[in-house]
Symmetry: C2
Subunit: 243 residues, 2 copies
Amino acid sequence: MLETVTPMKTAEAREAVLESARKNGESARKNETEKRGRKASKEVRQLQLIEATIDSLAKRGYSETTMADVADGAGLSRGIVNFHFESKEKLLVATLAYMADEYAAHWRAALTRAGDDPARQLRALVAADFDRSICNKRKLAAWCAFWGEAKSRPTYQALCGARDAAYQKIFIDLCAALKESGDYAYEPQVMALALSAMLEGLWLRLMMGTEDVTRESALQAANEFLSAAFPKHYPWASGPKKA
Amino acid sequence: MLETVTPMKTAEAREAVLESARKNGESARKNETEKRGRKASKEVRQLQLIEATIDSLAKRGYSETTMADVADGAGLSRGIVNFHFESKEKLLVATLAYMADEYAAHWRAALTRAGDDPARQLRALVAADFDRSICNKRKLAAWCAFWGEAKSRPTYQALCGARDAAYQKIFIDLCAALKESGDYAYEPQVMALALSAMLEGLWLRLMMGTEDVTRESALQAANEFLSAAFPKHYPWASGPKKA
DNA sequence: CTATTCTGAATGAATGTTCAACAAATGATG
DNA sequence: CATCATTTGTTGAACATTCATTCAGAATAG
């Protein structure tokens, strides 16, 4: 089941932010060895504000998310956001970029971990989409908030599309590889579209929270798709119904 | 290809509105034979404002849609919306309800037209999702705008879910029927979820307009899904690759 | 003439942004 | 080490703008 949408309480949020910021700070420190303390602090604040933004997007939605919400959510004063980010627009773009980076890093890691076998890689990619770390109500709600505005904002559209640029190519390549080894009839590009669209659609369903769709049942549906599309690579758990 | 997102020009909009309103007016007149002229006029205005709302949602997105936009788009004065609809919130709910009704009527008609064969019915439902009348950039953008706000608004959530309540049940029943006659291995409920999620995901992709996804290629992907999941009912156009 | 529909300016609330003052950390100097 | 200067980070009130809503009166239909 998805965890509750209730935003992380202040203490938890702080910890998560600091945790995340620490890693980030380290990598940044390697690149530029200067102003270390200050620089780190600045990044911590920005991440803190970005996390608060995600909270607000999840709780109130895009149109009701205000600068005051974000500042309050982070436990800081009203003018702070315009100091670290120039404007509300830039805060939101930074938030979306943060989520896109996180998402891309996540599936790339899963892909690497899966080794060289296309069938294992594809299964890993699909499973990665439903990991708790990125597939929770908070993040899904934030994603959907951006999707809703993407059509009328080229900047959002480009960042949401970060998911597709390389991602979609990987899917096509994997579908092509499986077709080769399994002698399937589909067109790789078309099957890849169907597959990735289903993943996004399942996210949407999870986000809506209607019906009784859970992370588990969504993953089950995705795997059933794999079994149907690539039966030789993903045999059915139980044989066909006989009576 | 999807038509341009440019909202219908005033003349076209008027015609479409009046056309649509005429039918609606007739059915309403059957129910309650009273205040005919006035009632009809009132409904025309409301539809006109709803159409203008969809235009604005598609062009500016949810968060940037203002009462002034809607009034201007309809070619009427500023205070008119609060006269016909009590508030902005109620206008938006009415708009969503209008789209949900239209969508439901559309797939029900397609289902009826398909006859009694489950395989034909399922194909008809899938194809109906990509009909020009409901699957165009304008409507898709409006749908997505509501999705983006649905999580934080129970009213929207319920109306978006109108799609799922009965719709999902039909899908499950059809998947069960095909499983019976085709001796497939999947679980009907799970396969129905995968299928309907893919349809929504394709809508999302179409709305985003990224890549080169068109109504045609989206429908092709959906049909390829059908062939993969129900090979005995939807044989591949061309046989498996042999070399 | 009466009821209904419509207009457009006025109003008030919400909210993004600015900014002057303040606090804290860093660096320089003796 | 102590002290001051400077840069950086933060605050909260003030400001300007946008926008939904209201409403008194005009226009129109019955």
